[in-house]
Amino acid sequence: MSRLRVSEVSSGTVLPELRVRVTREQLVRYAGASGDFNPIHWNERFAREVGLPNVIAHGMFTMAQGARLVGEWAGDPGAVIEYGVRFTRPVVVPDTEEGALVELTGKVTGVDETGVARVTITARSAGQSVLGKAVARVRLAD
């Protein structure tokens, strides 16, 4: 696996789509790895008490999926030099085998003279956008 070259990328290049199944088990695993044990991410009773429709994914879990989308495309996640998102809507994760589906897409919206590509990311779940202003900057190889 080697890093994508600047000659292989131009404005308008579309990244391969990433479809991620998010289950309760993954949220528990992410809670443990990240140290974020907020019960809205694993306790349905608590989530409903605070007005949510069900347990929701950690925003940072969803953000990490965008990083995976871009890192896999770039051939090296170390190429991601900037990455930012706005958390617009939660990913609601029902207690089922399938969990929730998050669909991520990306498109190159610019390549500058230093070989850095700007990638605009979309992330959707249950028909709605869950990340806003999701942009990564990726340093391409010469």
Partner: protein, 161 residues
């Protein structure tokens, strides 16, 4: 109750060093479901030009959360943490975090504002090595919903995660 504007511009003393371990990186990569070998296999990481396995691009959040705790729990700031949602997050990687790094974090309060009944707190974490090499700048915007003096609905912002 409004957030205390005097917090803007404050910087906090550096945290104790956090030593980044290979197995912690592997655990985090497994938890987010990212299969890249550069998170797990030192030989694959070296082939990609890294001295050791690197951490996923959002890993630094673990460090910034710890560093921000001193701010968000300060009673003088007046943040009602029960109403807080994560609004925005960004990372600027000066270089990838890698196994063996001993990282310290300096937390800064960049902005405090209110709009449509919600309050916004923008925090910045400067993550460096113990020797002062810049590694990551992480920015977090937190929203305290419906806590500003204005009675406007929190839902107006549509911020939920």
């Amino acid at each position: 109750m409004g957030l205390d504007q005097r917090f803007v511009g404050r910087a906090y003393p550096p945290t104790d060093p956090y030593e980044v371990g290979r197995e912690k990186i592997r655990e985090f990569a497994d938890a987010v479901g990212d299969p890249s070998p550069v998170y797990r296999d030192p030989a694959a990481a070296r082939a990609a030009g890294h001295p050791d396995v690197i951490a996923p691009p959002t890993f630094a959040f673990l460090l910034s959360v710890r560093a921000n705790e001193v701010i968000v729990t300060d009673p003088e700031l007046g943040l009602d943490y029960g109403t807080v949602v994560h609004g925005d997050q960004s990372f600027e990687h000066h270089r990838p975090i890698r196994a063996g790094d001993r990282l310290v974090v300096t937390a800064h309060v960049d902005a405090v504002s209110s709009r449509a009944g919600n309050e916004f707190l923008t925090l910045r974490s400067e993550v460096t090595t113990e020797d002062g090499e810049a590694v990551v700048t992480a920015r977090t915007m937190l929203v305290a919903r419906g806590t500003a003096d204005s009675p406007a609905a929190a839902e107006a912002e549509g911020v939920t995660a």
